[in-house]
């Protein structure tokens, strides 16, 4: 099971976000790995976003481009990079979207999992396989 916490209000990133830590690795060079605190965002339809600095540190290789619509209606093209994510005891190859916001964990990565959030300061966040 993946466990995390709901961030308190008033501290950056200020909006009481549910956060978990995920470990991301370079597919070709598994020694290059980082554990990143990510915000669980069910409004994000793909797998994962990371800022360019983190992508650079992991040495991820640029692969393709995907359009995503932001909440203000703007459509932007995002570079994507394949990476390996440790997910409930398994390694999954997923596309990482390059975005300078706080890292996001989206519905495509959550798919086939059970997500629980205690929506209060310091509340527990859990993600476990549903099947």
């Amino acid at each position: 099971m993946i466990r995390g916490r709901v961030h308190p209000l008033g501290e950056p990133p200020i909006s009481g976000e549910p956060k978990v830590a995920v470990t991301v690795a370079n597919i070709d060079d598994p020694a290059r790995t980082m554990t990143v605190e990510v915000t669980v965002d069910t409004g994000f339809s793909a797998h994962l976003t990371l800022p360019s600095e983190t992508i650079k540190k992991l040495g991820l290789i640029y692969m393709d481009v995907r359009p995503a619509m932001l909440a203000n209606g703007e459509v932007r093209a995002f570079p994507i990079y394949p990476a390996r994510v440790s997910w409930n005891g398994m390694g999954r190859q997923v596309p990482v979207f390059e975005s300078e916001s706080q890292p996001l964990l989206g519905m495509a990565l959550l798919w086939d999992s059970r997500l629980t959030i205690e929506a209060w300061a310091g509340g527990e966040v859990t993600i476990q396989p549903a099947i």
Binding site: D64, P67, A71
Partner: protein
């Protein structure tokens, strides 16, 4: 990198508009079309990554763009306050 991304978007959209859109719009609404912008070859699936891996298996050197049939983008992404993210948060 930035120029490359813009080029891929432009070429990918042109291939979709000219060669693929009329074939898929009547029957495939909501599905994702992943397009290799070098060859014009494409795959369709409800899931972007599934279609991408299938296309790349057939065309290992593919450089892909994607469209969601009948919609303005493949994905949705939340909007966040810029500048508040720090790696040590």
């Amino acid at each position: 990198m930035a120029v490359d991304v813009r080029d891929a978007a432009e070429v990918g959209r042109a291939i979709y508009d000219e060669k693929i859109r009329h074939k898929v719009e009547p029957t495939e609404k909501g599905k994702v079309v992943v397009i290799d912008i070098h060859s014009g070859d494409y795959e369709i699936d409800w899931d972007d990554w599934t279609a991408t891996l299938r296309l790349r298996k057939r065309r290992p050197g593919a450089y892909t763009w994607a469209e969601r049939v009948g919609y303005p983008a493949v994905h949705t992404m939340g909007f966040s306050f810029p500048g508040l993210y720090r790696e040590d948060d």
